[in-house]
Structures are given as C-alpha cells and as structure tokens.
C-alpha cells in the first residue's frame, strides 16, 4: 500500500477546462457538486482507501522566526502567493495507477452546466518508512 496526497488548489494550478467560479453556478449545480464530493469520500471509505480529507480557508499568512526574544514575523494574507491550497485528501492505495485513477474521478466532479470541471489536482506520493526486508 502507498499513501498519496491529492491537493486541490484555489490558485496556482493550471486552469480547469470548465473554469467558472462557483458563485456563478446555479444552486442545483452546487448541490450536485457537493453531493459528488461527499459520495466520492464515502466510497473510498467503503473500499478502505480513505485516510483523511480536510478543506482549508483561503486566508492565512506567512510566519517566520525573527530571532531570540522577538515575536515571530508575520506576512499576509498571502499577498504575493501564487499557489493557494484549498484542501487535501489522503488516500492509501495499492498502486500509482490507482492513485491516478482516483484523482481523475475527483477531477470529474460536476461544475457549471452540470459538466465535469476537469480541474487539475496535484498528486504527491508520501515518503514511506524504511521497509523491514532490505535485500
């Protein structure tokens, strides 16, 4: 088994095929989209491939250490950021092919006009623990 992180971006990913902001969809199209996402996660739980999924708020900040005895420096909200993560799902699957297959299904979630969004999702394999058998 191998774990993969599926990343959805608010910005920074290449443009989707059906690239219409959600507030321009009809309420029914939004409902259909939410239903699709819920069904997708529920299905992966049933197949034993779902690990975790969370959504992130679009606002946030950069923070860094600024030296002994000083408060951390903050910068934001993400003024210069090109890349903005909207959320993630972690899956535990048998193969890279399966990870790609599932990401493809997630990207097919319906959007404006009820048509698939074809949004680009970032798929990142986890670095694993060393295996027990090494030769």
């Amino acid at each position: 088994m191998a774990k993969y992180l599926l990343l959805k971006h608010y910005q920074g990913a290449p443009a989707a095929v059906n690239d219409v902001p959600m507030e321009q969809w009809t309420p029914d199209e939004i409902s259909a989209h939410v239903q699709y996402m819920n069904d997708f996660a529920a299905r992966l739980e049933r197949t034993g491939e779902f690990v975790d999924g969370q959504a992130l708020a679009p606002d946030g900040m950069w923070v860094r250490y600024d030296g002994e005895g000083r408060p951390p420096v903050t910068d934001g909200p993400f003024a210069e950021t090109k890349d903005l993560i909207a959320g993630w799902m972690v899956i535990d699957v048998d193969s890279r092919e399966r990870a790609v297959e599932l990401a493809g299904e997630l990207s097919a979630a319906p959007g404006a006009g009820g048509k698939p969004i074809h949004e680009w999702l970032e798929v990142r394999p986890f670095l694993t623990e060393p295996t027990t058998i090494t030769e």
Binding site: M22, E23, Q24, W25, E29, I30, V34, A57, D59
Partner: protein, 389 residues
C-alpha cells in the same frame, strides 16, 4: 436493570463516585484514573450481573483500583507511607461533590480545550477515545491533554468555592463546538448542564440549560437531507422538537422571574421568541431587538451588535438594519453575510451577490461556505448568469 447496560446511568454516577474518592483522600488525577477503570469494568460486568447499588459498586471497585495503583506506585518508589487503607469518614453530600468537580474541571488555570476535555472525562465519564473522536484528534493527543489538565488542577484544593461563570463557558463550548464521532456532544452538554442545575440554584445555569434546549429543538430542521444548511426562516417548524421547546421556555420563565438577568438568559429569551413563532413572518422582531439591546448592555460584544442589526432589519426594514450594521466593526465574523442579506432585502441584488461570495470565502465551516455560495449563485442566476472565460 435489563441485560442492556444503561450507559447514561453509569455515566451520571461518575462525578459523585469521583467525589467520594477525593473526599477519602485520593488525589484527583489518580482518583479519576481509578473511576475510569471502574466504569470500563461496569460496562463489562453489569449486563450479565447488574449490581443492586450501582453507585456503591462503582465506589468499591474504583477505590480498590485506586489502592492497587497507589500500592504499585509506592512499591516502585520504595515508600510505604502513602496510603491509609481505611477510607476516611465521608463528609458533605454528593451534590456538593458534583458541584466541586465541575468547578475543578473548569478551573481558570486550564485552557478552554483542556477544561472541555477534563469536564467530559471526569464529570461526563466519557472515555479518552470517545472525546478524541469527538474533537477529531488522535487518542494519544487527547490522553496527553487530559493528563496535563489533571496535573494542572491537582494542586487546587477541592473545597474552594468556584465561579459558576467559568463552568458555564465550558459547557457552552461543549454544546456549541461539538463536532462529530459516536458521542452526541450537544446532548452530552445538555445532560451535564441539567446535572449542574440540579446541584446549584443559579438563574444563569437555568438560562444556559434553556438556551441549549431551545437550540437543540431546532437541530434536525437545520439540515436538509443532503447535508446543506437550512436557515431559520426556511425551516420546517413542524420538525422542531415541541417537548424540548416547552421545557426550555418553562425553565427560562422560572429563571427570568428571579430578576437576575444574565447573558445566557437573554440569549435564551431570543431563542424562545423564535421558537414561539408559528411562522417566520409571525416572529416578534421588535421584542427580539429589545433583547439584543439587553444583551449588548450585558456583554458589549460586537457579535451581539451584528446579530442585532439583522433583527433591526426585520423589525424596521433593511435600511434601518444597514444603518445599525454601519456601526459594527466590519472585521467581525459574518459581517459580510449579514450585509449581503440586508442588501438583498433592500433590493440591491448585485451588491448582495458580491457580498455573499465574499462571505463564502470567509466562512468558518464547509456547510456555511456552501450555503453562502448557493446564496450568491441564486442571485447571480436570477440576474442572468454572467459567463466568464
């Protein structure tokens, strides 16, 4: 008792059993561990062999566990003077014990998340695993949080009087920020507040209990079958829990009659006015505005002033609501959502749609974000869908 274990009964005995152990001289952290062990044992043994005196049974088993653990501890440290096997004579009542336990678990030296966890475990009798699942954190993390909390309060003397307000804040958090898992935290908060109300006669405890009952009564109607939020005005009022409303109103009226108003009573009064309206149109918004005025005097909270602007918008029209909103700091959460609503009522659909979309971006949870995006979508669709590239 039948073969089916009444978990509610078991857990309702937790605080008084813990109180007995502490009164006999056990330190709080060790006593709490021992009571948890006894509860686990009860779940295992009682279905087949129910005790005649459940509390007595739990005290006996917990005390034995405490002695075993202390002895093991003492042996490890090569000390023998730690524990006196004979229990000290009991003094005080179980009501006092329960009350002291609430104060201890909500002690001001604890952070809110620690106080919540310790209250659910020591007063509520939930297991660490249940609490961890409810708050979506790993069990080991929750175990650490609870054990640190126990260490923090272990030096607090058990007989000091506490501040009811700190307890109420903790119970309010449990009710309002209960997430998920196999435990219904809102129901648990109601149970613990009811138990507190039985131990202390205080109008704000009654006010909080009424507030919880009145909000809980609407809970099923708040969510559509697909999981989306249903706003108050659109809820099917036939799905409201009449029993909970009746009880909440009765408790609130008794509290208000004592003429010691506090913020929970005022919030409950607003909830009661909503519960009292057969339809959204028949809501007594004028009286609701008056209660928000009281609440603003009591708390001076910008969130209260924001909600007041909504009520003013309903009582005196959207323009009056927008005027009230203009005096509220626009960094207050949900400011954009309220502005959007009032602009829509005022007929400015373009501004409303823009503000709903902005509010969706600021929404603190997914259900609310989806709801606000739908509101923007509804207005944009009505205005003719502008197609972007």
């Amino acid at each position: 008792m039948t073969s089916q274990l009444d978990e509610g009964l078991v857990r309702s005995l937790t605080p008084s059993v813990l109180g007995v152990l502490v009164r006999r001289g056990a330190d709080f952290a060790a006593a709490e561990d021992a009571v948890q062990d006894a509860l686990v044992e009860a779940v295992r043994v009682w279905p087949a062999d129910p005790p005649r005196d459940p509390k007595g049974w739990l005290v006996t088993v917990a005390w034995r566990r405490f002695l075993d653990a202390t002895r093991a501890d003492a042996a490890r440290r090569q000390r023998e003077d730690v524990v006196d096997e004979e229990p000290a004579p009991a003094s005080g009542t179980s009501v006092d014990d329960t009350l002291q336990l609430y104060f201890l678990c909500a002690h001001p030296s604890l952070t809110p998340s620690s106080a919540v966890a310790l209250t659910l475990r020591a007063v509520g009798g939930l297991t660490t695993r249940q609490i961890a699942r409810a708050y979506l954190v790993p069990e080991a993390t929750m175990a650490q949080r609870i054990s640190r909390a126990k260490r923090t309060v272990s030096g607090v003397r058990f007989d000091q009087p506490g501040d009811v307000a700190t307890v109420l804040r903790v119970l309010y958090l449990v009710f309002n920020e209960g997430y998920s898992g196999d435990v219904d935290l809102a129901a648990e908060a109601i149970r613990l507040t009811r138990q507190l109300a039985a131990a202390i006669d205080h109008p704000e405890v009654a006010g909080l209990l009424a507030l919880m009952l009145l909000h809980s009564a609407r809970r099923d109607a708040r969510t559509a079958p697909d999981g989306s939020l249903v706003p108050l005005a659109e809820q099917d009022r036939g799905r409201w829990d009449v029993g909970a409303i009746t009880q909440g109103v009765r408790i609130l009226q008794a509290a208000l009659a004592r003429d010691e108003l506090g913020e929970f009573q005022a919030q409950a009064a607003i909830a009661a006015l909503h519960a009292d309206a057969p339809t959204a149109e028949e809501t007594d918004w004028v009286q609701i505005v008056e209660w928000y005025d009281e609440l603003a005097r009591l708390t001076d909270s910008p969130v209260v002033r924001l909600n007041r602007a909504v009520a003013v918008g309903e009582a005196d029209g959207p323009r009056a609501g927008l005027a009230a909103l203009a005096k509220v700091d626009d960094t207050v959460p949900r400011h954009a959502a309220v502005a959007a609503y009032l602009h829509e009522r005022d007929g400015d659909l373009a501004t409303a749609a823009r503000l709903y979309a902005e509010a969706a971006r600021q929404a603190p949870d997914l259900a609310e974000r989806d709801h606000l995006t739908r509101q923007a979508a509804r207005l944009n669709t009505r205005r003719g869908r502008p197609r972007t590239a």
